[in-house]
Subunit: 536 residues, 2 copies
Amino acid sequence: MSQTEGPVHEDATTEPPAGRVRIEVGELCVPMEEVHLTTGERLRLYDTAGPQGFTADQGLPKRRADWIAARAGDPVPTQLWYARQGRITEEMRFIAIREGVTPEFVRDEVARGRAVIPANIKHPELEPMIIGRNFLVKVNANIGNSAVHSSLEEEVDKLRWSVRWGADTVMDLSTGNRINETREAILRSAPVPIGTVPIYQALERVKGQVEKLDIELFLDVLAEQAEQGVDYFTIHAGVRLHHVPMTAKRVTGIVSRGGSIMAKWCLSHHKESFLYTNFDRICDLMRKYDVTFSLGDGLRPGCIADANDEAQFAELHTLGELTKIAWERDCQVMIEGPGHVPLHLIQENMDEQLKHCHEAPFYTLGPLITDFCPGYDHIASAMGAVLIGSMGCAMLCYVTPKEHLGLPDREDVKQGLMAYKIAAHGADLAKGHPGAQDRDNLLSQARFDFRWEDQFNLALDPAVAREYHDATLPAPAAKSAHFCSMCGPRFCSMEITQQLREMASEMGKDAERVADAGMAEKSQEFKEKGSVIYTS
Amino acid sequence: MSQTEGPVHEDATTEPPAGRVRIEVGELCVPMEEVHLTTGERLRLYDTAGPQGFTADQGLPKRRADWIAARAGDPVPTQLWYARQGRITEEMRFIAIREGVTPEFVRDEVARGRAVIPANIKHPELEPMIIGRNFLVKVNANIGNSAVHSSLEEEVDKLRWSVRWGADTVMDLSTGNRINETREAILRSAPVPIGTVPIYQALERVKGQVEKLDIELFLDVLAEQAEQGVDYFTIHAGVRLHHVPMTAKRVTGIVSRGGSIMAKWCLSHHKESFLYTNFDRICDLMRKYDVTFSLGDGLRPGCIADANDEAQFAELHTLGELTKIAWERDCQVMIEGPGHVPLHLIQENMDEQLKHCHEAPFYTLGPLITDFCPGYDHIASAMGAVLIGSMGCAMLCYVTPKEHLGLPDREDVKQGLMAYKIAAHGADLAKGHPGAQDRDNLLSQARFDFRWEDQFNLALDPAVAREYHDATLPAPAAKSAHFCSMCGPRFCSMEITQQLREMASEMGKDAERVADAGMAEKSQEFKEKGSVIYTS
């Protein structure tokens, strides 16, 4: 992002909007935002932004340090191992409060492999979260200095900017200079799980010569990153030698960077992938830190024409096979998915993933439902994302408007996150997630009651909602007006409906008189406040 | 829109982007845009923008005048009547070329009532189009001076701006002054069907006193608007007296303006709706001009909590009943739909509409899949739109970012249309519409071949695609670079894939040498062009 961005131009530190306060819930101090409505009602919102007011130098408080220390003597530190032992960790209790479920339910879902808690024991700053289809749908944002230069402060700012807009996890895709220092700074300031794609750093080590990659080098990179506290690794161990020819007739070949690297390695050596043949060693390393596998979809389709093809599903079957190996070794696993898939082929993706990957959580990039709108791919992909989310996909990797074109700037990151928070919430509603609809109901009730401030405060993006409203009706009186600028008072259906209800309740007295008086009164009231926006 | 907009600040007249040309196809001169690729390939795109270079005073050429005049002696002028007679009109032949189907197929779908051709015989400037689920999914944009003042030129500019961004039909929702002159100016400059909601003007005539509305007044308004050439009328004849109590327990009551007006009328008089009881007279008037019915969903849900409720479906059943009456009188009919519907309840909307409205085309507003994101409702609603479009909804009424908040400006109109063109195209792909995927395939092939100019020219919005690319790689040489700024050359999966393919074809010779030489060569080539964006 650094190239277009220049210096940090807006403070990523977030204060909740007026009408919302930050609270901490329970003895585990689970962070939430609470919306205080003018009716006295309150609504608690899931909060990803993390503790505020800490510099990149300081890092965040280490809230997990004691939890982790107390478990130091256990043979395996993974959440999956604890869950299988029937032990409920602090992380699980924390998550139960966030999600509004019981700790036992969290444990059970983790034990079955149907949910993961990416939580490296070297990342004590983490506020634990869960990824699984029986929980709230999550959103990932990608950051990273893929170009020449970026300061540590800039990268930490990108992280904060992402979590401020609701990113549940953040992937650091940095490939530039000072990669270790940057990652260290990010992790120490990250309240959310951080994911990486270690093959990028491995390739840097061999100066871009793919053929020179090997398992020892790769394990070294994994160990370094795990030691820093990375919570999940994308590992493209599903790209096997015999899959590569399956991509030969594709329109866009292999579009995953990691996938193309591994395919080239396999073909160069005409050997099976070293990630595949050494998968047990990778598991052993990741188990030691409880780094979660995000099994990469190196052969995901890069265009509509290539969706759901032989190569894609062959790799998916391999990922299912690897899932079992990782589970045997008490490692947590999620499965990455496409990519570019037209709407009618999305269901098959979810079905095949559930079937062949044994219900391990699915984590998809979009999918984009068309290729024809570069510049608007956050929208095209959020359409696929909401649908696959409603079908059970557990986490959605965002796409920004700059996808396929260039490096996202801060506004692109925000726009990508807004589209994906809508997709995630839309999927939660469709799945009937308990409580998800409370926010919609409260906002709609506020809309019907013309409580504009409550509408703004309940909104996904209160500042934008307020700004758009004020663009046409800036007067303070308009905030209590019984209409808005769209229709004016005469055509406001909600106002008419309210009159209707009065009429209905007065029926039998003198309905017409009451309704007319009501209209005139409202109209007079508004004129007295000095705002006239409508003349007949 | 006028309040925030001020004078026209950008010319809505559109020249195709470089790499695209306007052409006319066949003896009927069907307008299309043709993309000329650097490979010599060409792709024809559906074009809604209409003839260019005419002022609001001049109006557009009257391309249908002779067609209509030649049919003057026929007893019924509606496309449905002709279709039932087995007659293929010029409008049907024009549409067949636009849609890439046979004229006989167009006739057949119209005859079955499964598609409509909104084409008032008093609107000779129209370029005929069709709305039906076996054709391309269409998009409607709303314009109109709902506020105090707006010049004719401004309204015509809004129309042009909408069709420039792909609006297939435009609804003029004006309620302000000079309403007739404004509508006249719009119609004379409209290459697309124009729809209106005549109850708004009727209510103006009685100075907002709902109770004073009656059928004679309403028919007068219809006659005036039909005489001007309006192609379809939204008529809320499905809101019946006994439906009104069904809305009493809703969170947001009645959110359709027309619906709330009619509900108030019914309750005020405690009588059945005059639109319902006089529906045959309305049909007789509309048949005379071939104005298409858009049977309004006056009881559509205004929030997630109210979706798919008793009131909504009761009205839908009435609309089905009215459809049969209109068809008996040779009137064309489409059915309006919601509104606010969570993802999992969308299918039921489509199923019920098909079942109870006898396959008359469905025309929905969104639906919005959540209420929680005012300011981003174009995205939340486009998600519902693409899904219901893929299920068979024939036309999608756009929603702008200002929905629920204020008056859309030009940028809002554009953003709404972009989101909805994506939804419509995504639905076409999902339905397997013949040829729809050609554009995606050509764009993706261009992407894989690093033909950046072809990508831009094929894109939904070429200017934005080019601008986003150039934000990070402005140098002309970058337009032929074998990578972009996102990953840089080393991590470009597409470049690696192309190397892979070379390797595969060279296998047996000296694969490694070839691949290495290939990489070095590309790298050298790029450096020679003076652009270095990546250093390891």
